[in-house]
């Protein structure tokens, strides 16, 4: 039993407690200060009273701010169906209707208070974003985004993965809510994230599932395709009425392999439509499921490759291009690779390690670009095990058939080295000092114990060869 203090706070304690409360409200309270505040609240009734009054001040300010915001924007206090964003509805928070509807629809759509990151870009293929600046590895704050073209994979809290196909307009409301205004989206929701909501503007609300696709078009309907699991769809007005009439919320269940079109023009209608799988929804993306589940650092997935892409080792940008190559290739003969086993590698000579004939693989080519002197780093996680890494010039050349890159001439070994360095024992001996190396350290490749994750640290010297690495992973089928 802790000793309870009833001694009033002195001035300096009050100041200190005010500061801690403010930091708590602003989300800037460090762990240590949090523990201090907690102990204080545990021990002292005077501290608790002060804390409660101080928090009530902020709660009241939230309330007055809603009125202020409502007055400022001329927002009616009663939500109407024409209000499509949670933003203008802030004032409705005070009303019970708002509260009920928001439960299922994300109608009020509270944004993250701190503007903290709610999603990360895992990969993108030919993605053009309005305003630019969104790259694989970028963190996205709660905000609206417009993907003009291409596709992008995002990861949100609890492992939710969203694939979007542009043109698409969406809002990341918080890490549990996304609002899709228009465009195409496929959401994959793991068990621990159940309750994730995707809302669409036509008053329909799509509640969780395990994997589903949405197409929201300008004509005012939402197509829901359930790829895996079960999805519940709600209509807002329906919810609204159910509150008034006191009947339970009735969602429409859509099962795996089924699709429905929801229309609200002239009343809510539900129509059975042809089911589309992930690839059909995301359009003619050449590589339906990229098989990449995590990218860190400057990594970009590149769908199309031209001669100049490969022959210009440096274009002023430091990044790793991931170029998906052929998938589902049955190796007809044993294939020589540079690295097969987990570990950390800094030497990349040809070895006699082989992937046995009969293995079915998917191939990816990694192409490194960097400004001089700055090594590029990245971490890439694949959905399936890596069976071999090829980063020696000769082995790269013999496996180029996996590339399916017609019309692209890969640099020959005579016009500068292709692969990773060092690859000869002479280079190893000379590593730390020789001018030729420009003072750079060795390239470094790490293959995780479970063989799914690749850590990379690669130096690129402009105009001196092409740094590439081919990754072969086990094919899905």
């Amino acid at each position: 039993m802790k000793e309870e203090s009833t001694i009033p706070l002195n001035d300096s304690e009050t100041l200190k407690l005010n500061a801690l409360c403010d930091q708590l409200v602003e989300g800037t309270l460090e762990a240590e200060a949090h523990a201090e505040l907690e102990q204080w609240l545990e021990r002292s009734e005077a501290a608790r009273e002060h804390y409660v009054r101080r928090m009530q001040l902020s709660a009241s300010l939230c309330d007055y701010a809603s009125e202020f915001q409502g007055a400022e924007e001329g927002t009616p206090l009663i939500p109407s169906r024409s209000l499509s964003t949670g933003w203008t509805l802030a004032a409705a928070a005070a009303l019970v209707f708002g509260a009920f509807i928001a439960v299922k629809s994300g109608f009020l759509a509270p944004a993250n208070e701190t503007g903290a990151s709610v999603a990360r870009v895992l990969a993108s293929v030919e993605a053009e974003w309005e305003g630019g600046g969104v790259e694989p590895g970028s963190s996205l704050q709660a905000d609206s985004y417009h993907l003009l073209s291409g596709t992008a994979d995002l990861e949100l809290g609890e492992g939710v993965k969203l694939s979007l196909r542009g043109p698409a307009t969406f809002e990341l409301v918080n890490e549990n809510r996304v609002h899709l205004t228009s465009g195409k989206l496929v959401a994959r929701i793991p068990e621990q994230a159940l309750g994730f909501l995707v809302t669409t503007p036509q008053s329909e609300v799509v509640d969780l599932g395990t994997e589903f696709g949405l197409e929201v078009n300008e004509a005012g309907h939402t197509d829901v395709h359930v790829i895996d699991g079960l999805v519940e769809v709600y209509e807002r007005r329906n919810l609204d009425e159910s509150v008034v009439k006191g009947v339970p919320f009735a969602g429409i269940k859509i099962e795996e392999g089924q699709a429905r079109r929801l229309e609200t023009e002239e009343g809510f209608r539900l129509e059975e439509i042809t089911f589309h799988n992930r690839q059909q929804i995301l359009g003619n993306r050449r590589f339906d499921n990229l098989g990449l589940s995590l990218l860190r650092g400057s990594v970009r997935v590149k769908d199309r490759v031209s001669d100049s892409d490969l022959n210009t080792p440096t274009s002023g940008q430091a990044r790793i291009d991931v170029i998906p190559e052929k998938s589902g290739v049955l190796l007809e003969e044993d294939t020589a690779v540079t690295i097969r086993e987990p570990g950390n590698y800094r030497y990349f000579a040809a070895t006699d390690q082989r992937i046995p004939a009969g293995t079915k693989v998917d191939s990816y080519l990694l192409h490194f670009r960097s400004v001089e002197g700055e090594p590029i780093r990245g971490v890439i996680k694949f959905d399936r095990a890596i069976v071999g890494l090829i980063c020696e010039a000769g082995q790269l050349a013999t496996t180029d058939a996996l590339g399916e890159l017609q019309g692209v001439n890969f640099p020959a070994s005579t016009s500068g080295f292709r692969g990773l360095e060092p690859h000869t024992s002479l280079q190893v001996q000379n590593l730390p000092s020789v001018d030729e190396w420009g003072g750079m350290s060795a390239d470094e490749v790490t293959l995780s114990q479970d063989k799914t994750t690749l850590g990379l640290r690669v130096n690129v010297r402009p105009n001196q060869g092409v740094d590439q690495l081919r990754v072969l992973i086990l094919s899905k089928d």
Partner: protein
């Protein structure tokens, strides 16, 4: 419309009335335990849903806010796991003590809310707009900073100053009122 329907309807109406009057207090109670607006809003919504579902167990004439806050308390407890990572939540025993204090102070907190409106009116426009901008839904210090043309750092300081000012103003006003009435 038959009798049971109209009884249900009048019960609905009663609940709407109670909630529109008291929802703010339930929100303040939740916010004290989970001081993050978005999280508190979510919890308020869940609480309202349960209030709606369980309203037939509420005894008319008893303290609605106290009853609603008990439901809110369970919602907060249920979601502890979810909020554990966001650092805003306290140890359960501490939360229980804070909850008791908050319930005990409820009448005073209600007076403080009313007094705050008066105190906000005493701020100059620039300060009032800044602090209300900070507390708008989805906003934070960054929005208040850009709205008032301050740097982020200056905005943190200005907000701390304004909160202190408002807090003291509210406290003084309550003291004066109690002096007048006694």
């Amino acid at each position: 419309m038959n009798d049971s329907e109209s009884a249900a309807e009048s019960s609905r109406r009663e609940l709407m009335g109670l909630l529109s009057r008291h929802q703010r207090k339930i929100f303040a109670y939740i916010y004290t335990l989970v001081p993050n607006r978005a999280d508190a809003d979510d919890l308020l919504q869940e609480t309202c849903l349960t209030i709606y579902e369980k309203f037939d167990t509420f005894e008319p004439g008893t303290d609605f806010v106290a009853w609603a806050n008990r439901i809110a308390w369970w919602k907060v407890r249920q979601s502890r796991q979810k909020f554990a990572r966001s650092k805003v939540i306290f140890d359960e025993a501490v939360m229980e003590s804070v909850s008791r204090t908050a319930i005990a102070l409820a009448p005073e907190l209600d007076q403080r809310h009313v007094a705050l409106e008066h105190c906000l009116g005493k701020l100059n426009d620039r300060d009032r707009i800044m602090i209300l901008t900070r507390y708008e839904r989805g906003h934070g210090v960054a929005e208040a900073a850009s709205q008032s043309g301050r740097s982020l750092n200056a905005a943190y300081k200005a907000l701390a100053r304004l909160r202190n000012l408002l807090f003291d103003c509210v406290t003084n006003r309550l003291e004066r009122e109690s002096a007048v009435s006694s």
